[in-house]
Amino acid sequence: MSESCKVSSERRGDVAILWTDGYINNQGGEEIAREAYSQLDQGARALVLNLEKTRIVNSIGISILIEVLEKVMDRKGALAFCGLTPTIDKTFRIMGLAQYAEIYPTQEDALRGVNPQPA
C-alpha cells in the first residue's frame, strides 16, 4: 500500500465527491480536509467521501474527519461516506462518525442520499 493518501474530487451540482486512495492517517486526513474545505469554500453544499481504495484509518484520521464533519454541519451541509470496508464501517460507527454522517454502500446511493431530488 502506498505511503501517502491521495485525494481527488469532482463536483456534481452542489455535491462534491472526494475519492481517497491510501491510509487515512494524519497526512491522509489533512489531504481530505484540504480538499473538503476547498470544495466547501467553492460552494459545495454536500460532500460524499468515497473510501473504496482505503483499507486503514487511524484515530488521527478519524478526528480530522470529525472536524470536517463539524465544519460541514456548521454550514448546514451534509456529509456521506461510501465504499467502506466492513472494518472501517464498524470503526466509523463506534467512533460516532455515523451519528451525523450517513454511510452508504455505493457512491450512487450516497449521491441519492445527500441529494434526494437531483437536478
Binding site: E3, N25, N58, I94, G96
Partner: protein, 544 residues
C-alpha cells in the same frame, strides 16, 4: 466562570449579553462567532480571537486555525485589558485560567472600558465552556477508541478463526495493528518452519529486501519498544522509521513471524513514543495471528492427508480392477490365490492366463513404489502381459517383451520382481522365469519343501537384461507356492519377520484354499496390531 460580576453593572451586562447572545446564535464555528459577537457588542470594526492551546497561541478565524505570526501577541503579556497599536486586547479568563485573547480593532470613540471588561468576563465564560465541552468530547473520543480496540480484538478473533489464507490473515492483522496504534508504518513477516521468509506485508514504508527469521533479531522477551537505535539490529524492514514497536508471533516450538509498527502519529505531526497499551495491544494481535497461523497449518495438513487418502483410494481401486476375482478352473490342477492390500497400497499383482491345450500361464509380481505410481505400473504390466502373451513363444521371451515394453512406456524408472510360470497339467511340466522374485516353494507329495530361486534380475531394472527359463516337473500331489514379500517380511511387534521357514511349515497336504486361509491367518496372528506396509499375495497350485 462563576466569578461575580460587578453589581452595579447588571443592567449593562444584560444589554451586552443580549448582543452577544444574538451573535452567538448565528451559524459558523464557535471561535468565529465569539469574535463576531465581540465586534457587534462593542461596535469594533474587526475582532480576532486567539485561543491558548497547550501553552501556544492559535489564531482563529481562518479556515484552519494557525499560530499567529511571531510578535503579533505581546510577550510577556500585560496584565488585564491593554491597548496596543490602537487595538484593544481583552484577556478571556475563567476560574483564574487564561483561555484566550480578543483583539478589537477600531473601537468607536467613547466606547466604555467598563463594557469591554464585562464583555471579557462574558466571553471568557463562553470560551471556557466551549473548551470544557471539547475536553468532554475528547474524553468521549478516547473512550470510543478503547471500545474500538476491544471490538477489534473480538472481531479479529472471529475473522481469523475461519481465515485459512495466510496472506489475507497477514493483511487483517497488520492493518488493524497499524490503525489501532496510530502507527504511520508497519510490517508483518511470516516464516516457514525452516526459518525462510514465507510472506511479508508492509504499509507505509519501503521494505528493504527479504529477510529470514534470523534477520529479525528480536530480544528474548520478544518486544522492542521505542528504541530507534536498535531498529536496524532488530531487523526492522521499514526504511526511515524513527521509533518502532515489534513483537514476535510465536507458535509452539518456534517463532513463526514478527509484527512491527513504527512512528506513532500525533495530530501535530510529531512522532510519539508507543505506549504500554500499544505494546499490549500488539502482543494480543500477535497472539491471535499465531493461533490463526496454527489453524491454517492444521487445515493444510488435513487437506494433504485427505489428498493422500483419496490417492490411496484411487490406487486401491485400480488394483481391485486388475486382480482376477476368481481363480480359473483347470483340469488336473487345484488353484487358490489371494491378495491382501495394505493401507498404503503396494504394488502386488497376480494373474492367470488359460491357454490352449489345457495349459495355464500365471504370474505373481511385486512392483516398486507404493500408492498411485505403483498402481499405474501394475496397470502397465497388466496391459503388457495381456498384449504379449499370445505373441511370445516361451516364458523367457514373454518376460523380455514385458521388460522392453516397460523400458519404452513406463513414465519413470520403475521395476518389478515377478514369478512367471507356464504349466502343462497333463505332464506336470512347469516352465518358469523368476525375475528377482522371492524363492517360490515346491512342496513335494512326500512333504519335502524345495525352493525355486530367481533366474534373472527384476524386470525394468537394467536395459538389455535377459532371463533364463527353467523347468521343473510337478508330480501328482506336488504343490507350488508363489508369494510376495509382504508375506515373508510381515513384521511383528518386535520387528521380527514372518520368514520363509514359517511359510514352509504351513505348506501341508491340505487343499490349496485351506492352506491359503492358514497362511493369511498365521501372518495376521504373527503381526498382531503391528501395521503392515506391504501388500500380501499368495498363489498356490496343486497338481491333483
Amino acid at each position: 466562570m462563576t466569578s461575580p460580576a460587578p453589581p452595579s453593572s447588571a443592567a449593562r451586562l444584560d444589554e451586552i449579553w443580549k448582543r452577544v447572545e444574538a451573535a452567538l446564535g448565528t451559524d459558523g464555528p464557535l471561535p468565529a462567532r465569539v469574535a463576531q459577537a465581540a465586534a457587534i457588542a462593542t461596535g469594533a470594526r474587526d475582532a480576532t480571537l486567539y485561543l491558548r492551546e497547550k501553552d501556544a497561541w492559535v489564531r482563529t478565524g481562518e479556515t484552519v486555525p494557525a499560530p499567529p505570526p511571531a510578535g503579533e501577541i505581546p510577550d510577556p503579556l500585560p496584565e488585564g485589558i491593554f491597548v496596543r497599536d490602537g487595538n484593544l486586547w481583552l484577556p478571556l479568563s475563567a476560574e483564574g485560567e487564561l483561555h484566550g485573547l480578543l483583539r478589537l480593532c477600531d473601537l468607536p470613540a467613547g466606547e466604555s472600558p467598563e463594557n469591554a471588561t464585562l464583555l471579557a468576563f462574558l466571553l471568557g465564560a463562553v470560551v471556557a465552556t466551549h473548551r470544557l465541552s471539547r475536553q468532554v468530547r475528547d474524553a468521549e473520543f478516547e473512550l470510543k477508541a478503547r471500545l474500538l480496540e476491544l471490538e477489534s480484538l473480538y472481531d479479529l478473533g472471529l475473522s481469523l478463526g475461519g481465515q485459512l489464507d495466510l496472506s489475507a490473515l497477514a493483511d487483517e492483522v497488520l492493518f488493524r495493528s497499524i490503525s489501532l496504534t496510530d502507527a504511520g508504518k508497519g510490517t508483518l513477516a511470516l516464516f516457514e518452519e525452516s526459518g525462510a521468509l514465507l510472506l511479508e506485508r508492509s504499509v507505509g514504508g519501503e521494505v528493504i529486501g527479504a529477510g529470514d527469521a534470523a534477520a529479525w533479531k528480536l530480544p528474548e522477551e520478544g518486544v522492542i519498544n521505542n528504541a530507534a537505535d536498535t531498529v536496524p539490529t532488530a531487523g526492522m524492514k521499514l526504511a526511515n522509521c524513527q521509533k518502532c514497536l515489534a513483537v514476535a508471533i510465536a507458535v509452539p516450538g518456534r517463532r513463526a513471524g514478527v509484527l512491527a509498527v513504527a512512528d506513532k502519529e500525533s495530530r501535530d505531526g510529531r512522532v510519539l513514543d508507543f505506549t504500554a497499551t500499544d505494546a499490549r495491544l500488539l502482543a494480543l494481535f500477535a497472539n491471535q495471528a499465531a493461533g490463526a497461523i496454527e489453524t491454517a497449518r492444521l487445515h493444510k495438513d488435513a487437506i494433504e492427508k485427505e489428498r493422500i487418502e483419496r490417492e490411496l483410494e484411487l490406487a486401491a481401486g485400480i488394483q481391485r480392477q486388475i486382480l482376477p476375482r476368481d481363480v480359473p478352473t483347470v483340469a488336473g490342477l487345484e488353484i487358490a490365490a489371494r491378495n491382501r492390500p495394505t493401507r498404503q497400497v503396494g504394488g502386488d499383482y497376480f494373474d492367470f492366463f488359460p491357454l490352449s491345450g489345457g495349459r495355464l500361464a500365471f504370474l505373481v509380481a511385486d512392483v516398486s513404489g507404493k500408492g498411485v505410481p505403483a498402481a499405474l505400473l501394475v496397470s502397465t504390466v497388466h496391459a503388457a502381459v495381456h498384449l504379449q502373451i499370445d505373441e511370445a513363444k516361451t516364458v523367457a521371451e514373454l518376460v523380455g517383451r514385458i521388460d522392453r515394453h516397460l523400458q519404452k512406456y513406463a513414465a519413470t524408472r520403475k521395476f518389478l520382481t515377478c514369478f512367471f510360470g507356464l504349466i502343462e497339467p497333463e505332464s506336470g511340466t512347469l516352465r518358469y522365469v523368476s525375475a528377482g522374485h522371492n524363492p517360490a516353494l515346491l512342496r513335494r507329495s512326500s512333504g519335502a519343501v524345495e525352493q525355486i530361486k530367481a533366474t534373472g534380475v527384476p524386470i525394468g531394472m537394467f536395459p538389455n537384461a535377459a532371463w533364463r527359463e527353467e523347468s521343473v516337473v510337478l508330480e501328482h500331489g506336488d504343490e507350488l507356492c508363489v508369494y510376495s514379500d509382504g508375506i515373508t517380511e510381515a513384521l511383528d511387534a518386535a520387528d521380527e519377520e514372518f520368514g520363509l521357514a514359517r511359510l514352509s511349515r504351513l505348506m501341508t497336504a491340505d487343499p490349496p484354499a485351506k492352506i491359503c486361509d492358514s497362511v493369511f491367518e498365521a501372518v495376521s496372528t504373527f503381526a498382531g496390531e503391528t501395521p503392515q506396509y506391504d501388500d500380501q499375495t499368495l498363489l498356490l497350485l496343486l497338481r491333483s
